[in-house]
């Protein structure tokens, strides 16, 4: 086989590796296919033995059942509002803080940096108990502010942005200063437009974190109306009691938008992992 055309093709295109990757990839995406197909099944389809892989007909009943069982749109809206506001605030805090720490000269700069860096050593589990007391003492339990404010930790994104800001040449900023630009103009007219990629990576990272956030929203929300999507899905398990087809419809609606965004912006997702992962 070594010298045959087939052998050449086999090695040139790594067909062996390709064939090894196929079953793994199938296992990875099988749950999504199972979910998508099952969202259309009837209760009878689900309980049938031997199992049915395809639904007997494509009807939207399970989706209607989701909306009648739980205020699903409200959960969606809650997730969108809290994630968008949270991302926006974190990015603003990080842009300003990162700019001051890289491009401005003031006493105690490195001390502030070390202080900020040390905050990343304390995991969320440790601060959630005192934060809950703080939030409840100011009456913010069960409110958007109560969900958003305690999750505004910005040390990580600030450090990420700083590594990009510091690569912008100081000459460029000095030239702008001579032209009469104030520091705010320098930040928003020169530094921010020049770091668009870095800022969108940081924003994507924060948004994903907020969208998937689970423990804090679980702790700080009591009323059904304020649940975010992940919390709503958690309680759906109890509320539907093994009506898997309804659970799959809800899960499908929660997963599809983020999956589409991911497939369209795959490069940025990967970048947000490699930058945030390997930089630290």
């Amino acid at each position: 086989m070594k010298n045959s055309a087939f052998g050449h093709f086999w090695r040139r295109y790594h067909i062996g590796t390709f064939l090894l990757l196929i079953p793994g990839a199938a296992l990875m995406i099988f749950p999504f296919f199972w979910m998508a197909l099952s969202a259309f099944k009837t209760s009878a389809d689900v309980y049938q033995y031997p199992p049915k892989w395809l639904p007997s007909s494509f009807k939207w009943d399970n989706f209607a059942a989701v909306f009648s069982t739980i205020p699903f749109l409200r959960f969606y809206l809650n997730s969108i509002i809290t994630s968008v506001v949270q991302t926006f605030l974190i990015i603003m805090i990080s842009i300003m803080g990162g700019f001051a720490l890289t491009k401005l000269d003031f006493p105690g700069r490195s001390k502030i940096y070390t202080f900020m860096e040390s905050s990343m050593y304390v995991p969320e589990v440790v601060t959630m108990i005192p934060l809950f007391l703080l939030v409840s003492s100011v009456g913010l339990v069960d409110s958007y502010a109560g969900i958003i404010l305690p999750q505004l930790s910005s040390a990580f994104t600030t450090i990420l942005l700083m590594s990009f800001f510091s690569s912008i040449p100081n000459d460029l900023l000095d030239a702008a200063k001579i032209d009469g630009c104030g520091y705010y103009a320098i930040l928003f007219k020169i530094v921010v437009p020049n770091s668009r990629t870095a800022i969108s990576t940081a924003a994507l990272f924060s948004f994903l974190g907020a969208w998937r956030s689970y423990m804090w929203p679980l702790i700080v929300t009591n009323s059904v109306q304020l649940r975010t999507l992940p919390i709503g899905l958690k309680y759906l398990v109890q509320e539907t009691s093994s009506e898997y087809q309804v659970m799959m419809a809800a899960s499908l609606m929660a997963i599809v938008p983020i999956l589409i965004v991911y497939i369209l912006a795959e490069k940025e997702f990967v970048q947000s992992i490699t930058l945030t992962g390997l930089k630290s």
Partner: protein
């Protein structure tokens, strides 16, 4: 321009810069004070009191909470579960991720598809994908048992037996997290200069040798990062165990340490005990973080 003199080392600072820096750092400093400094002080204080979620009592009790936790069999059970979870999950996760990354590092057809497929479980909310797996694990009508039955293998109780519940959670976690480490390993492999591999080939190294003798040692920084971050993240796992086994699983078999803290603080309302346990966990995590720094410094560099 206006300069203000600072006595310490005689360095001059521009007033406008100082004012701008103060304004721009205020939001960041506020988040650090309210989300880091105050909570850390509070959690330490709380761990020495009998602070309760439901009643206003909060008196100083000394080391009573720590005493309780260290004598609580559920705490040790949760710590043991967490270590078992971490050991099995990391072994499976790291070796599979390395394998997939090495495969993807070659010019295989459909690389973009494979990358998307392996990474897709990482991006979806854990609560949503957990729902799919709850059904997979259903002993009566779950597809896993139906497949096992179809090929004549014994069925399992999955999440409903204390022997298999933790393993079921681990399988889910590996599925969910694999892509993340694949991306990190792949970035590491692609960061290795081609000239190194070519040099090895010129010296007569077989592909196997150039992988084990050149690539793998050069990958050590990524590997040590993946492993230590993996341990730290395993210690913090909560979402999937809370969604799939809200009560801690059969005989507390899926009660992990964070779930124990959550249970003490918010289900039983014993905030003091929860605070004490979270500090214990903090020191365990800190130990691993410092270890990573130590190991990280000694590893191979590309230069």
């Amino acid at each position: 321009m206006y300069y203000r003199k600072f006595s310490k080392n005689g360095k001059r600072y521009e007033t406008a810069q100082l004012r701008t820096a103060a304004v721009m750092l205020t939001p960041l400093m506020l988040t650090l004070i309210f989300l880091f400094v105050i909570p850390v002080i509070l959690v330490i204080l709380m761990s020495f009191t009998n602070w309760s979620l439901t009643t206003p009592v909060r008196t100083f009790v000394g080391l009573k909470n720590y005493n309780f936790v260290f004598n609580d069999s559920r705490f040790w059970k949760s710590l043991g579960n967490t270590l078992l979870y971490s050991a099995i999950k990391l072994t499976l996760d790291t070796s599979l991720a390395l394998l997939v990354a090495v495969a993807l590092d070659r010019h295989v057809p459909g690389q973009r598809f494979f990358r998307i497929a392996y990474f897709a479980p990482v991006v979806v909310p854990i609560a949503a994908s957990s729902l799919i797996w709850i059904w997979f694990y259903d002993p009566r009508i779950g597809p896993l048992n139906q497949i096992l039955a179809a090929i004549g293998l014994p069925q399992s109780q999955w999440l409903y037996s204390d022997k298999t519940a933790l393993l079921s959670i681990i399988l889910f976690s590996v599925w969910k997290g694999l892509g993340y480490n694949v991306i990190l390993f792949l970035a590491g492999l692609q960061g290795i200069p081609n000239s190194y591999i070519e040099a090895a080939q010129i010296d007569g190294a077989t592909p196997r040798q150039s992988f084990f003798k050149v690539k793998l040692p050069l990958l050590t920084p990524v590997t040590s990062f993946v492993i230590t971050m993996g341990i730290i993240n395993c210690l913090k796992v909560f979402t999937e165990v809370n969604v799939m086994t809200p009560q801690g699983g059969p005989l507390n078999s899926t009660l992990l340490i964070v779930a124990y803290i959550y249970d003490q603080s918010f289900t039983r309302g014993k905030m003091g005990r929860g605070a004490a346990t979270s500090l214990i966990l903090f020191f365990i995590i800190l130990a691993f973080t410092l270890l990573e720094r130590r190991v990280g410094r000694k590893t191979v560099s590309y230069d």
